[in-house]
Amino acid sequence: MELKELYQEIILDHAKNPRNKGKCEGYNHHAKAHNPLCGDKVHIYLKLEDKNISGLSFEGEGCAISLASASILTDTLKGKDLQFSKKVTDDFLNMLKNKTKITLNSLSADQITTISSLSGVQEFPMRIKCATMAWHTLLSALENKGLK
């Protein structure tokens, strides 16, 4: 049953108990996004130090998919190298767009399982935006050079 693929335990857990909520201390990049269709909102905060994402958090409201996605994103990339994070983001977006698998060596098996839990969204085209919004917003935040 596809529905179970979509609402996996991991996702429900992240949706109900989102990690890294709020503004992370000393953040120096941020960006927000909004899906006018359903009202989902996400605001990503990050602290970039020496090409390292030393702080990463989000504020937002939305469906389980969008909350879980933002939560998983912050959990996975916090403390990670900038280039690496961009690569993970590309891979994630690719997974949803082209149904590819995530296979990065430097992610732990656990992390891959977690990220991949969002792959169930593939079968729900109208929900893909819910899953990708946070990741696109991360990319915007990285482009956004201004302090706060």
Partner: protein, 405 residues
């Protein structure tokens, strides 16, 4: 025609969704089309198609007559006084834009006020917002009370000597609130303020008599009246169709065109620039016939029975919060479930073949007021029945199971 076998008149109900029968509870978004309407589109394109109002050959004459016949049918159906008061548009959105644009151009000066409500669909706010931007108009909002109602006194409070238009919805597409239309119009008349009714949700569910209402403008979306998409109707009182300048410019709407000046046709032609929808207009006559065959009074009864049944059943579920509690309500139940986002509800319901809408339903102002970003909406059409509600309620239980609530 009987409500008992009415789904059989709509080909879409032969379809299975994820192996289950389609339970369509999204009619406030757009209604399904009966076979008679779909067949009329094909019939027309296959046998009679031609552009209307342009050529004098047999097909053109037939097409033009059929097209204009629908205008007469609409005129009678809403009891307009003159056929030139019926203007075909792309939808209610275009109808309201037409009024805001042409009325605004001629009659709105800086500081003039337009009174709308917190219930309005974006279609009945954004076009007025343009006048705020372009003409320096001021927009005022009549507030909804906790039941999702707005009474005539709330309007009275906001009317000033500068109020130049009162624009509000006949029936809310979120709470289902039936507005006290007649009272508000009567109030407006005493102050000589024109009134536009957004009838998008009103027209499919109510008896319409625009002469009795005496509104200046009434906007309709044909696709919510079991008619073709991409088609709407603007009713505009004779004095307005005579006084307002044209909207879009193009073929058909002119009288004489010279290099230095242009004069325009009379209404309705003045407002119907370019090649119009044709098969759609012709087929819309069948939508009205469909409604008339059922009887709009019977439709009201049928739908309100299902609505009552649905509200009652939903109210029994403590985790379900129904939005609004208006005394007069039509066909619409919006709700939230604690702990489950409406988008997730819609996805889980869809797995049971149920089509509802989740989101702000183009009413962000109302949702902001309610303090929720989105809601789930089940809306009722002629083809729904109590069993549909039962399936809905079962599936809501499933939502809670999936979310372990």
């Amino acid at each position: 025609m009987e409500f008992s076998n009415i789904k059989s008149k709509f080909p879409i109900f032969k379809r299975k969704i994820k192996g289950k029968p389609l339970i369509y509870l999204d009619s406030a978004n757009s209604s399904q089309k009966p076979k008679t309407v779909i067949d009329e589109i094909s019939r027309f394109y296959e046998n009679d198609f031609s552009n209307v109002g342009r050529s004098v050959h047999t097909l053109a004459v037939k097409a033009t007559n059929k097209f204009e016949e629908t205008r007469d049918i609409v005129k009678s159906y809403i009891n307009a006084k003159h056929r030139e008061e019926i203007i075909f548009t792309k939808g209610a959105t275009e109808a309201i834009n037409l009024v805001a644009n042409t009325y605004g151009e001629k009659y709105i000066s800086p500081g003039d006020e337009i009174l709308v409500t917190e219930l309005e669909h974006h279609s009945n706010y954004v076009p007025w917002h343009y006048l705020r931007k372009k003409k320096g108009a001021v927009i005022k909002f009549a507030s909804v009370n906790d039941n999702g109602e707005i009474d005539v006194n709330e309007f009275k409070k906001h009317i000033t000597g500068k109020t130049k238009m009162i624009a509000f919805t006949h029936i809310s597409n979120v709470t289902g609130t039936i507005m006290p239309v007649k009272k508000i119009i009567d109030l407006a008349k005493t102050k000589n303020i024109p009134v536009l009714i957004d009838g998008t949700q009103g027209a499919p569910h109510s008896i319409l008599d625009v002469q009795d209402l005496d509104c200046d403008f009434y906007a309709i979306s044909c696709h919510k009246m079991y008619g073709p998409n991409g088609l709407g109707v603007l009713y505009a009182q004779k004095k307005w169709v005579d006084e307002l300048p044209p909207y879009q410019g193009g073929g058909g709407m002119i009288s004489e065109v010279k290099k230095d000046k242009i004069s325009y046709a009379e209404s309705p032609t003045k407002f119907e620039a370019g090649t119009m929808q044709t098969a759609e207009v012709v087929a819309f006559a069948k939508s009205i016939k469909f409604i008339q065959d059922l009887g709009i009074k019977n439709i009201e009864n049928h739908e309100s029975k299902i609505l009552e049944y649905g509200l009652e059943k939903l109210r029994k579920d403590n985790s379900v919060n129904i939005i609004g509690n208006p005394t007069n309500r039509a066909s619409i139940m919006s709700f939230t479930i604690k702990g489950i986002h409406p988008h997730d509800i819609a996805t889980i319901l869809d797995d049971d073949g149920i089509a509802i809408r989740a989101g702000h339903h183009c009413c962000q102002i109302l949702h902001e007021k309610l303090g929720i970003p989105a809601s789930a909406r089940a809306s009722i059409g002629v083809y729904n029945n109590k069993e549909d509600i039962d399936v809905l309620c079962e599936s809501i239980k499933k939502c809670k199971k999936v979310f372990q609530i």
